[in-house]
Amino acid sequence: MNTTDQCSYMTHGAVMPFCKGCGHSNILKKLNDALGLLQLDPHDVCLVTDIGCIGLADALFDKVHTVHTTHGRSTGFATGIAVADKVLASGKLKTIVLIGDGGSMIGLLHIVNAALMNVDVTVIVANNFLFGMTGGQTSSLTPEHFNTITSPFGSMNPSLDICQIADASKAGFIARKTATDKDLTETISEAITFNGFAIVEVLELCTEHGTKRNEIKGNMLAKMAEDEGHEIGVIKNSHARPEFSKKYETDVHSHKGDIKPHKYISPQFNHDLRSPNEIIISGSAGERVQSTAAMFTEAALMCGLHVTQKNDNPVTQGSGFSLSEVIISPQEINFTGVSSADYVVVVSENGLKEIQGQDIFNRINEKTIFIIDETLTIEKKGLNLVVLPLRRLCGSDKAAVGAFDYVIRKFEPFPHEPFKQLLAKRFGEYGKIFKEEFYNLF
């Protein structure tokens, strides 16, 4: 076995910056031994350290890559490093997080998600039951009744079992050890070797704040954990789940051929439009308002027109109204809102309510044509109203389709052919999409 002297990843003769008797010194020595045991090339090791006394470790390891992060986020940064390394780079990097009990709670989500992803990251939680660096405050991993400066009568809450959290997050390797365990080196090296997410919680003592306020010694830590109902030892070592990059390869990367790149349009139709046409169509969610507006703009694009389409709907996309503002223009379009509509199309009750709510009558002119379904009534006088049996002849799900078809055929902003082609592609033979009567409406 390599000793620290033979293969050290730490600065030669480094002085531990910790208080006398602090568990951190022991944990770092064991980590150094574990790296030596595995004989890892230092360039293939990245130590990601969190905030707190344990986070001072980066300055001690001068051979390996060190990334000292923000509080609690170390596992998040480590996840990005590990994913990029395994999927996009050499895939040889061993990413190890050193985090305290405080940091592990503020960054719990990063630990949970790293475990769920099963990224090749090893998280070592140095748990001394309190925030040491800031003066010994209580943390979420402080056991019930444990005395800290912010729990002078004993901590009120039970401590979080982070190993159980890791288990619930489907981590493959989970261990809870104490800093003085003889086999800590082996457990850490097993965790590092584990191809996937591994967590080792190491129970230890803060001699500055922990032992002064509590009757506790290093050999009582295992018992203390058990009293809290926390299991000790290697709790889980299972390779049942593939490491993230393997899973990515089978679940995503192998499917990339199924992703269809979008098509470009080279306009093949002509148009005689001289000035912009602005259209507002309003209807109900799920009745193809926005998707038909998109077909209309695509047809306009096939004629070489400039287009914009701006959609609006409630945050719950499948309910209530659905609205599109469409502009087609022979020139480039700047302002994308409809300020003086040429057409206002309303195909359902929800749609009517919405345009009245949006104060539509301030966005029309004396020439605006209102196309509304026969089931709807607009109180306002003096509108150029076209009332059509859209819902009856086209179906509620295609009333918007019929309305656009009507606009193109009746007012000819551009040739009907491209829209017809798109409809046929989407719904089958053009002549059979609507009830026969609809085609004779003109």
């Binding site: 060190t66 986020r73 990005g80 490093i81 990029a84 080279s266």
Partner: protein, 417 residues
């Protein structure tokens, strides 16, 4: 008729154009409304968000981590589809803090990375943005603005995150902020954002807004102005300058040190704490203070090359309108209206919000008396920034909350003067 059938199915139209006589073309046009004159156009209906995703691919982005938020989710979806096709990876993160931490981690490993969010997500990312800044790690964050404060209006546009994106660092460091105003510019400026991130080793914000991000419009791909992607300048132990190289070293204000990825043969020391040129934590140390200052100096030194604006100057104009993003489009329509009515006005569209393109603004102002700054927020955020530059002018704001400023609103405000 064979030719017509082929044209209708849109296949081989370029071929047809070369062989058909003008006579046949005329017949096609007359009877079928088919035009053969647009062969040089490559059109698609795209949203700003989709173009941002495509621009990222062009820029060489290989890693995206996303958390859904309206109106930025289109970028997330776009890159989930595009990255696997382009030797990259896009992953889902459990929150915005993770999203950016994943990206910064990936970038430290040496790949170009990006995330996208809106105001509420940006608020959560601020600590990690500062981490990228102090560790000089390139990363691009697209912030697609929506109505604030707080959750505000998810499906309503706004330009209210100008100050919170820029002034997100303790110490007030300049985060480069680019702001496109069309889907096409989303593509172009996304590439620029990546290039700046690499060149200056900094986080770069690509600001947009709901209206630009989610509105679809016609884009002619043949008209895209594509900057060459900037590659990351990596240090290698075989480089001639390796012996003097330091990860955060510099010998002039504008110098940006070569980058070493974690996992390479060059050891990386990175920290979010104040550090010396080697990356070691040092307190009350002149070198450390010099590194902190250099973080700002390196951006200021390149300010002029980062000045991206579009000036529409009219001879003899005494009025200048300044705008950006969605409101810059409104401004263009208003300028056309005003000129039709005989008003002499110039306009300036700002693409690089920060560092502030001071010289370009002052140049555009020459000869003017009145300067209007139009933006969709109530307090005039960018006006506050540039007003001190414009002490010799009458500066007015055109502001609005909740919906887009309309061309008429700008026109009327200026006519009222």
């Amino acid at each position: 008729m064979i030719f017509i059938a082929a044209a209708k199915t849109k296949r081989k139209s370029f071929f047809i154009q070369t062989i058909l006589s003008n006579f046949v073309k005329l017949v096609l046009h007359y009877y079928y409304g088919i035009t053969m004159n647009s062969q040089n156009q490559k059109l698609a209906l795209r949203s700003g968000n989709q173009m941002t995703a495509e621009g990222a691919i062009k820029a060489g982005c290989k890693f995206f981590a996303g958390y859904p938020i309206t109106p930025a989710s289109g970028i997330y979806k776009g890159l989930i589809d595009l990255l696997p096709l382009n030797n990259g990876i896009a992953i889902s993160s459990p929150d915005e803090i993770s999203a950016l931490a994943y990206c910064v981690g990936a970038s430290m490993r040496g790949v170009k990375a990006m995330t996208a969010t809106s105001g509420p997500g940006w608020a959560l990312m601020i600590e990690t943005v500062q981490y990228a800044l102090i560790t000089e790690t390139p990363v691009v964050i697209s912030v697609v603005q929506r109505l604030g404060p707080c959750t505000g209006g998810a499906t309503q546009g706004a330009q209210g995150d100008i100050l919170i994106t820029e002034f997100a660092t303790s110490g007030g460091y300049t985060i480069p902020v680019l702001y496109p105003s069309t889907a096409k510019e989303c593509y172009e400026l996304t590439i620029e954002a990546f290039n700046w991130a690499e060149k200056y080793r900094t986080p770069v914000v690509l600001l947009s807004d709901k209206e630009i991000g989610m509105t679809t419009e016609s884009v002619d791909y043949n008209k895209l102005k594509i900057s060459a992607p900037e590659h990351r300048h990596l240090i290698s132990e075989n480089d001639a300058d390796f012996s003097e190289w330091k990860m955060y070293g510099f010998d002039s204000p504008g110098m940006i040190a070569k980058f070493a990825p974690v996992g390479s043969k060059v050891k990386v020391t990175a920290t979010g704490s104040a550090h010396n040129t080697k990356g070691s934590l040092k307190k009350n140390d002149p070198e450390t203070l010099a590194v902190l200052k250099h973080l700002e100096d390196k951006i200021r030194a390149h300010k002029d090359e980062m000045s991206l604006v579009k000036e529409d100057h009219e001879e003899g104009a005494d009025t200048l309108i300044i705008s950006f993003g969605i409101t810059a489009r409104t401004m263009k329509d208003s300028v056309a209206n005003l000129r039709k009515q005989g008003c002499k006005v110039s306009s300036l569209t700002i693409y690089c919000m920060f560092p502030v393109p001071e010289k370009a603004i002052l140049k555009a102002a020459i000869g003017c008396k009145n300067i209007f700054i139009a933006e969709e927020n109530f307090s005039g955020q960018y006006r506050m920034i540039i007003a001190p530059l414009l002490k010799n002018y009458n500066v007015y704001g055109i502001n609005k909350l909740g919906t887009m400023i309309t061309p008429n609103e700008i026109t009327e405000r200026i006519m009222k003067l």
